[in-house]
Symmetry: C2
Subunit: 313 residues, 2 copies
């Protein structure tokens, strides 16, 4: 009776029957069936997931940007000079348009002021403290509650079938590592992301690793396959994204030989989340959606394919 009981436990209860769910189940069965034509040894069952917009909500602004702006506010008392200096003045005045208008230079200054100049341990603590209470301005929900229940089930389903699951995100690697294990069950060593340069420094109270205000690596677009190669050293057989920033990760994954799976979370559910794609400044999905049919990438419709969006809702 045991196999029957196992078979009756649906590993993907938040997914509706449909082509997306079917593609996942068929793919996993194919690569996990020993002796089958598509069999892949467990050690090579590598699956990579984008984070923003694929595992959690990214609207109205990336959570890490919300963190940076909150940090400017929290640190403002120690920086009286910010009252008269852009882009900080606009952040403190709540003028997000002016912050955006400050461009890459302004954003780099905000990142340097909020993400660098401290040890990795100190930064981890700051992020962990912030994420414990920070909430989405639109919904009032904790950011860590606005994760996608169907994707959590997918991660667990892959792990149960001896996949090793990685996050591969344009977001900051240490920003994510502070909470991904608790939130998704994905530990720090399985998180790949953008990074600033680190330096090992001996101090009177022992060594620390300092975060320098210098960009090290951008894990987005063509950077994603490079980040994958650098951190994992194996080509994934399955990849999940939601925007054009995932184009090359999907391409690198599905152009390998043997059976592959590439899927794109399509934000088409205005009622339960936010509907956006080609015209969104955050998480734009345009080129990858055009390429999907020819590349064999399947869209996941949040509206049609998901019974539930957020856990417990």
């Amino acid at each position: 009776w045991l196999p029957l009981a196992l078979a009756q436990t649906d590993p993907l209860p938040s997914w509706n029957e449909g082509p997306a769910r079917q593609a996942i189940v068929d793919f996993v069965a194919a690569v996990a069936t020993e002796g089958g034509p598509d069999y892949v040894a467990p050690g090579d069952r590598i699956a990579t997931f984008d984070n923003d917009g694929t595992l959690w909500s990214e609207q109205p602004v990336y959570v890490q940007l919300a963190f940076a702006l909150d940090r400017v506010r929290a640190l403002a008392a120690d920086h009286p000079e910010w009252k008269d200096a852009e882009p900080f003045r606009s952040v403190l005045a709540g003028d997000l348009n002016a912050v955006v208008a400050s461009g890459k230079k302004g954003l780099a200054e905000i990142m340097a002021a909020t993400h660098a100049g401290m040890s990795t341990d100190a930064f981890e603590q700051v992020v962990a403290d912030w994420i414990a209470t920070a909430s989405n301005p639109r919904t009032g929900m904790l950011y860590t509650a606005m994760i996608y229940q169907p994707m959590l089930e997918l991660i667990d389903y892959l792990k149960a079938n001896e996949f090793e699951v990685f996050i591969v995100s344009g977001g900051g690697i240490e920003f994510m590592r502070a909470w991904t294990e608790r939130t998704y069950g994905i530990p720090p060593q399985n998180v790949v992301g953008s990074s600033i340069r680190l330096e090992y420094v001996e101090t009177d109270t022992g060594p620390v690793i300092m975060r320098l205000a210098e960009l090290n690596f951008i894990d987005d677009g063509p950077g994603k396959p490079v980040g994958i190669q650098s951190h994992i050293g194996k080509r994934p057989i399955a990849a999940f994204g939601n925007s054009d920033g995932d184009f090359q990760m999907l391409e690198w994954t599905t152009s390998g030989s043997g059976r592959r799976l590439g899927m794109i979370v399509h934000h088409d559910d205005a009622e339960r989340e936010v509907a956006y794609d080609r015209d969104s400044p955050v998480g734009r999905l345009d080129k990858a959606m055009d390429a999907a049919p020819a590349e064999g990438w399947l869209l996941i419709s949040m509206k049609d394919d998901w019974k539930t969006v957020f856990p417990g809702r």
Copy 2:
């Protein structure tokens, strides 16, 4: 009778009784005993191993340098200009002293000519083909046979006690990844090393990741804790090295709070391997040996602590 049978199976049969073996067994028991004062959750049982001189022999020259020199010879027919250009002329003439005299600039040229300008897949194949037959000039043994049996047992012992084991080496990350899984049972994603820059390139026959002739990261000395933070994102609780290049990795590991283990393989066995430490240009062990007593790092004597050095010998 099962616990007794398990207890009777020595997990470290190639280790002699003595302080090194005892320190390992005591440490593992301490961190793996639930409810004990030194207990560490399995997810935080991170152990890092240097490679050259810690897991395999590094004398008379680093294996990766032997690979580079062999590649120059193999590629010479396609590069007639090398006959008249240093450092290649000296490599082809077998004049290793002149190669060494060419310094960092010469070595960088050799590395660029042999390690870059090809895809990651092509490089992996070249390394795999080479390591399958390449042998140590002094012993005639395959390089992959000159690995340390006691360290293999240690890796397996740690894994059996729910440690996650990583290589953290000054050697090239992709040079190692081509053979570490087969040789040590350590997969590519658990290998941290020095790297050159990578670039994702679309070609007519699909995408490739190209290896550029540009240094990206040196995973040695103070680079080791940085490589650990970048790839693992957790501080190890145990680290194993053999030279001054491991000083900061040992320091970073053992200066963390809670129970820690730092050990140094001491090459003091001229009969079964090679005896060297303070004066060796390859794998110099000087500053770390001086610091060991105060830092609580234990030396592993190859001569006294190891029953066997190489597998099957």
